[in-house]
């Protein structure tokens, strides 16, 4: 059974600071996703990571993937209030025949002015 663990689950940080959210998964996966969810809204895709060593950046967010360690990180640089949201990582394995996503519990990020 594929399991995904995120930490921390809650993160309160000051504007301008840096922090990293971690995502560990339990078994083989060839696709790692990061989503953002604002309160009362649906999931917005941030990054799709498909290979070992993949690194993607968008604005103040950077995601990386280490398939050998089964670990992905989402790094936040110089946080701003607009980044306050819940961030989910999710994994899937294309070899399973179904592309269903298994999600972590999410990290609720609050950026304090």
């Amino acid at each position: 059974e594929l399991k995904v663990e995120q930490n921390p689950l809650f993160l309160s940080m000051q504007e301008g600071k840096n922090y990293t959210i971690y995502c560990n998964y339990s078994t083989t996966s060839d696709r790692l996703y990061w989503y953002r969810q604002d309160p009362g809204k649906s999931l917005e895709s941030l990054f799709v990571l498909l290979s070992n060593g993949a690194v993607k950046q968008e604005g103040r967010l950077m995601a990386s993937l280490d398939t050998k360690a089964r670990l992905s990180t989402l790094h936040i640089t110089a946080a701003v209030h607009d980044l306050s949201a819940t961030y989910f990582c999710a994994v899937s394995y294309s070899g399973a025949g179904s592309y269903q996503l298994t999600f972590g519990k999410g990290t609720k990020l609050s950026v304090i002015p």
Binding site: R31, Y33, Y35, K41, S42, L43, E44, S45, V48, L50, F88, A90, S94, G97, S98, Y99, Q100, L101, T102, F103, G104, K105, G106
Partner: protein
């Protein structure tokens, strides 16, 4: 349409009633997924449709839950004899076979409240 649409956006029902939730995927997307988001269980996979293949129903929590996809497009998720623990946001997503199902695009969700 530009994205995945779902209806209704909110549904309040009484325990024991049946409900139907609708999902309209992105045009041309062959794969369609249903997920459920609840406070206690987080985001869970329910069911997956791909073209004309038999659906993957491995995530359905009980036999009260069923789904169909007509004509390879619109999907309906039906919950019979609703229970309070069915209260959740039901999310639909679709993906494109041409793009190797690399990315799933989510709809706005249906918030179901069972009284």
């Amino acid at each position: 349409g530009a994205g995945v649409s779902q209806s209704p956006s909110n549904k309040v029902t009484e325990k024991g009633k049946d409900v139907e939730l609708r999902c309209d995927p992105i045009s041309g997307h062959t794969a369609l997924y249903w997920y459920r988001q609840s406070l206690g269980q987080g985001l869970e996979f329910l069911i997956y449709f791909q073209g004309n293949s038999a659906p993957d129903k491995s995530g359905l929590p009980s036999d009260r839950f069923s789904a169909e996809r007509t004509g390879g497009s619109v999907s309906t998720l039906t919950i019979q004899r609703t229970q309070q623990e069915d209260s959740a946001v039901y999310l639909c997503a679709s993906s494109s076979r041409r793009e190797g199902h690399r990315e799933q695009f989510f709809g706005p969700g249906t918030r179901l409240t069972v009284l």
